[in-house]
């Protein structure tokens, strides 16, 4: 317990790093997921921009990336991170890698959420002359907003999960903190402190997500 009190500055720094990593990956991964999801949805057979080759390639890519355990993906994608963000280690490298992995995971969720929009509503929009871009922004996304918010809440938890291994490539955050000061120094109190904060964080976000989704559903 005393050691935890001594570690308080590191603890809060780690918490800040987790928020930093998760915040940026939620933005970049969320955006990437939206694009991948829209791509999958729009190009599938019978959809407004149906395009079999694009769909098949995109679908295959998602299926290849998604099952790779993240810690292996982190190592495998290191050269790519070096190319894009200029470094293979540290928080920025891991933000890139998590965003990439999350794009494909979130893409699948977005695709499934968009599929809940009744095709008839899209047909009605087409019947008044709306083009694909207008349909995306005025029909698809607003109609699927409730499920999409829940989807993003879900992916938030996955991002916290992925950020925990940041330590392996020289990143920080609560996962790194728990491993470094708790697990390796045989100090379970420290580990549990990190766990507790993560639980609180996830609960808060889940609560916020549910509240927003309810508002979107009730309209």
């Amino acid at each position: 317990m005393d050691s935890l009190i001594d570690l308080m500055p590191e603890f809060w720094k780690a918490a800040g790093e987790t928020l930093y990593i998760v915040g940026f990956t939620l933005f970049f991964g969320g955006l990437g997921g939206l694009l991948v999801g829209l791509g999958l949805y729009l190009t599938r057979a019978g959809s407004i921009l149906a395009n079999k080759p694009v769909f098949v390639v995109l679908n295959l890519f998602v299926n290849i990336v998604r099952p790779i355990p993240f810690i292996i993906f982190l190592a495998a994608a290191q050269p790519l991170a070096r190319m894009v963000v200029g470094t293979g280690i540290g928080n920025n490298a891991i933000i890139f890698t998590i965003s990439l992995a999350a794009s494909f995971a979130m893409g699948r969720i977005v695709e499934q959420n968009l599929l809940t929009v009744t095709p008839g509503v899209i047909e009605a929009a087409r019947s008044v002359g709306a083009g694909p871009l207008r349909i995306i922004f005025t029909v698809l996304l607003p109609e699927a907003l409730g499920p999409l918010i829940l989807g993003y809440t879900f992916i938030f938890v996955a991002l916290v999960d992925m950020s925990a291994v940041a330590g392996y490539v020289g990143g920080g955050g609560l996962g790194n903190f728990a491993l470094l000061y708790g697990y390796r120094q045989f100090n379970p109190v420290v580990t549990w402190a990190a766990v507790l904060l993560i639980i609180v964080l996830v609960q808060l976000v889940q609560f916020l997500g549910n509240w927003l989704a309810r508002k979107a559903f009730r309209r």
């Binding site: 009605a124 019947s127 008044v128 029909v139």
Partner: protein, 348 residues
């Protein structure tokens, strides 16, 4: 009277879907259909589900693209028009749907205003037009409500307001009342009648409901397996169908001739002779026919049938069970006299 001008003209239009499995047969949804809808018509397209009605109506606003043939909308062939050039065409054609297809994320007013946004109308024009349309469908007080808070009939009225927002000359109704109860159906049909009469909108309505044709349509086309097998004035087609398939279809909605099963039941209950008489408009005087039976001392009982009214003219079939103390010869004699008045079919 000036010659009616065609608003929609289909010339030998076909729609063929490629095989769903490799090596399978292609599916012919629409098979060489030619059809002319004149300005001011309420054109009913009737047929069993799977006959191709939905596809046919979607060819008119190019939600479905034809495989061959010409589709003239106000004289312009839209069949080969690329997607981006279809917008002005679609703005001139409103459409309402069986499931209403309102945007759940928008209020009633925003739903009605949606086509006007697509047409890039200024905000003031939009607001005025939305108010006008909501007033027309009697839902001004629901402007701020969301579709989820409305009944089925109200949703369809919003659908109608939305479809007419851009003042189209043509309205396509895809089974617009099939999801509604009978009373609400009549409200919506009355509203569609007003759309036709007050705004002069030409309506193409697809349905499997006799009610819709009876109250609303002026002309009808009967579809079967992707073809229009018969078309013409509603009264002519329903009272005197020419094709066996359309007669079979008409008989499912018009209570006229008993089916084989019903006939067997009738036979059991009525051991005497059973005949069916056809009545069509004023050409047959029912009173005179029944007078003949009475005069010959033949007692009759109406055991099956119905008289329908379409556009103020009536037609139908009545099936009678006949008995006479004078036996078969008396009945034969009176039937001969009745045959000079109307069509008599002896049911055995």
């Amino acid at each position: 009277m000036p010659a009616p001008s065609p608003v929609v003209e289909l010339r030998d239009v076909s729609k063929v879907y490629p095989p769903t499995v490799k090596g399978g047969a292609e599916v012919v949804a629409i098979d060489g259909v030619s059809l002319t809808v004149d300005a001011g018509d309420v054109y009913g397209i009737i047929g069993y589900s799977g006959a191709g009605k939905s596809t046919l109506v979607r060819l008119i606003n190019a939600l479905e693209r034809s495989t061959s043939g010409e589709i003239l909308v106000n004289g312009q062939d839209i069949a080969r028009l690329p997607e981006r050039d279809l917008r002005p065409v679609r703005l001139g054609i409103g459409m309402i749907f069986q499931q209403f297809n309102l945007l759940g994320s928008r209020t009633v007013a925003a739903n009605v205003g949606y086509p006007l946004e697509v047409a890039r109308q200024p905000k003031d024009t939009r607001r005025a037009r939305v108010a006008e349309m909501l007033d027309f469908v009697g839902l001004s007080d629901k402007a701020r409500a969301y579709p989820d808070q409305l009944s089925g009939g109200q949703k369809q009225r919003v659908g109608i307001a939305r479809a007419l927002a851009t003042q189209p000359g043509i309205l396509l109704a895809d089974e617009a009342t099939s999801a509604l109860d009978p009373e609400t159906t009549h409200e919506v049909l009355d509203l569609l009648g007003r759309v036709n009469k007050e705004f002069g909108v030409t309506i193409v309505v697809i349905t499997h409901e006799m009610d819709v044709i009876q109250t609303l349509a002026t002309k009808v086309a009967v579809m079967d397996q992707g073809r229009v097998i018969e078309h013409g004035d509603v009264f002519d087609v329903f009272s005197n169908p020419q094709q066996p398939a359309s007669a079979r279809f008409v008989s499912t909605v018009v209570k006229g001739l008993p089916s084989a099963g019903e006939l067997a039941v009738l036979r059991q209950r009525h051991p005497g002779r059973i005949v069916t008489l056809a009545f069509r408009d004023s050409s047959v005087d029912q009173a005179r026919v029944f007078g003949e039976f009475a005069a010959a001392g033949v007692t009759f009982e109406v055991v099956y049938g119905g008289i329908n009214e379409i556009q103020g003219r009536s037609f139908g079939h009545l099936t009678l069970a006949l008995t006479s103390a004078g036996g078969d010869s008396t009945i034969d004699a009176v039937l001969d006299r009745v045959r000079t008045l109307t069509t008599v079919t002896e049911v055995r």
